[in-house]
């Protein structure tokens, strides 16, 4: 029972399964991997592909730090298996933009101080990019008064509700909302 490899939350069991081959398209590059089927997409990105921008907060879908875009949609990479994403298009914070060419959302977070420690930030930014696409497609949220209405007015209340899957331990929320609001405004002008 005291064997550290004998299971428990988040730890691997000593048994090993045969490795599975999987090809992921990560940030526009095909990456071929051999992974234990237990490997989460998050661990594949961080430990196998060394894309450590994507963060592990809770590993249980409760914080949003691990958010990446899969085929354009925001998803928690901790609650999915790498082997389930053969040929899927995955974009991480590294793929959104880099120091020479920041994505509009990255730049807006910097300009408006949308973070303090920065741990939740890659997840916040990927989530915000996915969220604006959902608003663009007319998806309703819990803050939408009439779900039948095809048009969404992106109020601060809407932004907060739609971003509730991203927890910020530093509570940088006011500036996160401001950063997202600025990008949304610029996009519709």
């Amino acid at each position: 029972m005291n064997d550290p490899d004998a299971g428990g939350a988040g730890r691997s069991w000593a048994e090993t399964a045969p490795l599975s081959a999987v090809a992921l398209r990560v940030n526009d590059e095909v990456r071929r991997l051999e992974v234990d089927p237990r490997t989460s997409l998050l661990d594949a990105l961080r430990e196998h592909l060394h894309l450590s921008g994507t963060k592990k907060g809770c590993d249980h879908g409760q914080c949003g730090a691990c958010t990446v875009l899969i085929n354009g949609r925001r998803v928690n990479s901790c609650l999915t298996l790498a082997v389930m994403h053969e040929d899927d298009e995955i974009v991480t914070i590294e793929g959104l933009g880099d120091l020479d060419s920041l994505h509009a959302m990255q730049r807006s977070f910097v300009e408006r101080d949308g973070f303090q420690c920065g741990y939740c930030t890659p997840g916040q930014i990927c989530s915000a990019v996915g969220m604006l696409a959902e608003v663009g497609a007319g998806w309703p949220s819990h803050a939408t008064a009439d779900v039948a209405s095809p048009r969404i007015a992106l109020t601060d209340e809407e932004i907060r509700e739609r971003m509730s899957g991203n927890i910020c331990r530093c509570a940088a929320y006011p500036n996160i909302v401001a950063a997202i609001r600025a990008v949304a405004k610029a996009g519709t002008q």
């Binding site: 299971g7 428990g8 939350a9 988040g10 730890r11 691997s12 069991w13 048994e15 090993t16 399964a17 045969p18 599975s20 234990d36 089927p37 237990r38 989460s40 590993d59 249980h60 879908g61 949003g64 958010t67 949609r73 925001r74 998803v75 928690n76 609650l79 999915t80 298996l81 082997v83 389930m84 053969e86 989530s127 996915g130 969220m131 959902e134 497609a137 007319g138 998806w139 309703p140 949220s141 819990h142 939408t144 779900v147 039948a148 095809p150 907060r160 509700e161 739609r162 971003m163 509730s164 899957g165 991203n166």
Partner: protein, 327 residues
């Protein structure tokens, strides 16, 4: 997490055949199953990935209803124009659940089969008849603030956590199933879930390798539909109590009403008692209170969750008042 083998069958038939292997389990979005596997609460030895099966569509039915494929993501169902206009209670229930990221992954079938959020079910050091039959129920004499007030047993007082299933219950949804012998059957959602009785580990009537292929919604009932969820935080939190209601009022009289509760029982709780107390009655607060009393007549608190009985009453009254007002 314990090791397992992984397989992605090409079609539904191959999937149910693969699931007939002992220790096999389906995986769709994985948002509930992987969480539970990480904690060693679920430990399948073989995963059958059904997330790519061609069961994503939402189709019109000749009678005016809709068929929602089991792989349709919660976000796609919530955003579907037909669901939003004809079944708004379903859209409202879906967007009140989980987070944007989770809804993008969570499937219709997986949502129906998500497991309880009872903290002792999650704690492998605690006795729990649902996780480990015969080991007792730690919640009955423990911390039971989120637990059931209706239909519970001496073996288990857990609740079903889904919001979506509550809306589907008020809409009289049917669940379509495919078995390993390729037989197909349809089960009404109210018959799909079981009460805990002395077998709380059996939550539905699903057979071992049976797969949910779709959910059929009959044509929308007349009246205004509304979902109201009460919880400890404003978002990204399970319901303490929720109400799905459909009310059609003619002048000041309620012609027809349907009511289902979430967060109160081992299954989404349709209240025929409340419905009977509403039909043909004046659309007034006195009627709503009488319906609430009828709905909660057999309610039993466990100590910490006593407040839920009054909360369920008030949530129902408020939902009915709002639905009747604008129907």
């Amino acid at each position: 997490m314990r090791s397992f083998t992984y397989e992605r069958p090409a079609d539904a038939r191959a999937a149910v055949a693969a699931a007939s292997r002992s220790g096999a389990k389906f995986i769709s979005g994985g948002t509930n199953l992987l969480d539970l596997m990480k904690l060693d609460i679920e430990h399948p030895s073989h995963l059958v990935d059904i997330s790519r099966l061609a069961l994503r569509d939402i189709d019109e039915l000749p009678d005016g209803g809709l068929r929602i494929g089991a792989q349709a993501a919660n976000s796609d169902v919530a955003a579907d124009a037909r669901v939003r206009t004809r079944y708004p209670v379903l859209s409202q229930a879906l967007v009140s659940g989980a987070s944007g990221q989770l809804r993008n992954k969570a499937s219709t079938g997986g949502n129906l089969l998500q497991r309880t959020r009872c903290p002792y079910f999650y704690d492998t050091a605690a006795g729990c008849n649902k996780r480990d039959p015969g080991s007792g129920c730690s919640a009955i004499d423990g911390s039971n603030r989120i637990h059931a007030i209706l239909g519970a047993s001496d073996a288990c007082i857990a609740t079903h956590p889904s919001d979506m299933a509550v809306a589907m219950t008020v809409l009289d949804a049917q669940i379509e199933l495919l078995d390993a012998d390729e037989s197909v059957r349809r089960v009404a959602i109210t018959d799909f879930y079981r009460l805990p009785g002395d077998t709380p580990h059996l939550e539905t009537v699903l057979r071992p390798a049976e797969m949910i292929t779709s959910v059929v919604l009959p044509p929308p009932p007349p009246g205004r539909q509304l979902y109201r969820k009460v919880r400890d935080r404003a978002s990204y939190e399970f319901a303490l109590v929720s109400v799905a209601a459909v009310v059609s009022a003619d002048q000041a009289t309620i012609a027809q009403a349907r009511v289902a509760f979430g967060g109160v029982a081992h299954k989404p709780w349709r209240s025929v008692e409340a419905e009977a107390a509403l039909t043909g009655r004046p659309a007034t607060m006195a009627t709503y209170r009488a319906a609430a009393d009828a709905a909660m007549r057999d309610a039993v608190g466990q100590g910490h969750n006593d407040f839920k009985i009054e909360l369920a009453r008030r949530t129902l009254c408020r939902t009915l008042a709002q639905a009747a007002q604008s129907s």
